[in-house]
């Protein structure tokens, strides 16, 4: 039913996905880290979320070019404002979806 070749593919994929997720959690939690590393890691979340988010908002993934007119970016502006004002995760998700649903009708 499930071929050996397919199993080999997903086991290989699973291993190389799991190891980078696992190694830091096992090794870094057992050591006291140098202060520069702790400080650097403290900046990582803001940096990584922005690095994931901004290209998704301002670039057209199909053409790999900047497009500030796409609904993803236009909707992000009021969504950002709402998040800053309310600090509500659930509210921001709902508002973002509503705006995006509306924007898709008009774009």
């Amino acid at each position: 039913m499930v071929s050996k070749a397919y199993l080999a593919v997903i086991l290989g994929m699973g291993l190389v996905t799991f190891l980078p997720r696992w190694l830091p959690l096992i090794y870094l939690t057992k050591r006291s880290l140098p202060s520069w590393l702790v400080e650097w890691l403290d900046f990582i979340p803001a940096a990584i979320l922005s690095a994931i988010l901004l290209p998704a908002l301002v670039t057209d993934s199909a053409t790999r070019s900047i497009d500030l007119g796409q609904p993803e970016f236009v909707v992000a502006i009021p969504t950002f404002v709402f998040a800053i004002l309310t600090k509500s995760l659930g509210g921001t998700v709902i508002i973002g979806m509503v705006f995006f649903g509306l924007a898709e009708k008009f774009f």
């Binding site: 959690l25 096992i26 690095a51």
Partner: protein, 240 residues
């Protein structure tokens, strides 16, 4: 198992409900993506069982999409696994950032937790760990609730995803809106604003220049290093 039950008083019940409550934006966001993945995988010739197995063993959305299109194109095992490795390497950074909050935690639990580290669960758990209330048990529940949603929706997509109106109500924007709010949570001073802006600008530029998603790792490592240097220059304590 038993030790879990022994400590399973009100405390762990609370962990379960808190963990599930934190997971809902992730689950909402995974639904359309999971269904879309299932539809694509089914078109590439995978059975619902094969789709479910991949979601269980790998549990990493973007690399699963890439793997399925590579399978359909007849790529070799080595090239699929190597591509998966590169695409998912960013989780190394995320697990490292999470490790700061999990000093001396139980190794077994950490291993189970590691399995569920995705962009989305990382972002939610990291914000939660900053509130001192959050613990590894809640984080595990969040991860596995998201994991369960992913497995089920990818299989559903493979069974009959084309009949489910997956894109209604702006649901495609759920994860983006979640990331927007979680990014706002991470901004705890102007140096964080500068770091985030630098990371975003580098990421946008690199994403147009280099193939794949390695721009995420390069941009965030560089921007965080600049953040550390700026923090030193401006003087400790001010930006925080």
């Amino acid at each position: 198992m038993n030790s879990k039950k022994d400590s399973g008083s009100g405390h762990s019940k609370k962990s379960v409900s808190r963990g599930m409550a934190a997971a809902w934006p992730i689950c909402l966001g995974y639904m359309p993506i999971g269904l879309a993945f299932g539809v694509l995988a089914q078109k590439a010739g995978l059975s619902p069982l094969e789709i479910g197995l991949m979601s269980v063993v790998v549990f990493a959305g973007s690399s699963q999409f890439i793997a399925v299109s590579m399978l359909a194109a007849g790529a070799s095992i080595f090239s699929i696994v190597a591509t998966t490795f590169v695409v998912n390497l960013r989780h190394f950074l995320m697990s490292s950032a999470l490790a700061v909050f999990l000093k001396n935690a139980d190794r077994k639990k950490l291993s189970f937790f590691a399995y569920g580290v995705t962009d989305e669960s990382f972002a939610v758990n990291l914000s939660k760990f900053r509130d001192s209330q959050w613990d590894l048990n809640s984080a595990l529940v969040t991860n596995y609730t998201a994991n369960f949603t992913w497995i089920i929706t990818t299989m559903l997509g493979g069974i009959g995803g084309q009949f489910i109106p997956a894109h209604a109500f702006g649901i495609d924007y759920a994860l983006i809106a979640m990331f927007i709010c979680l990014l706002v949570f991470q901004i705890r001073g102007y140096i964080y604003v500068i770091t985030a802006v630098i990371a975003g600008v580098i990421a946008v530029i690199l994403s147009m220049l280099i193939p794949g998603n390695s721009y995420i790792v390069i941009a965030s490592m560089t921007a965080a290093a600049i953040g550390v240097v700026l923090n030193k220059k401006i003087g400790s304590g001010e930006g925080r």
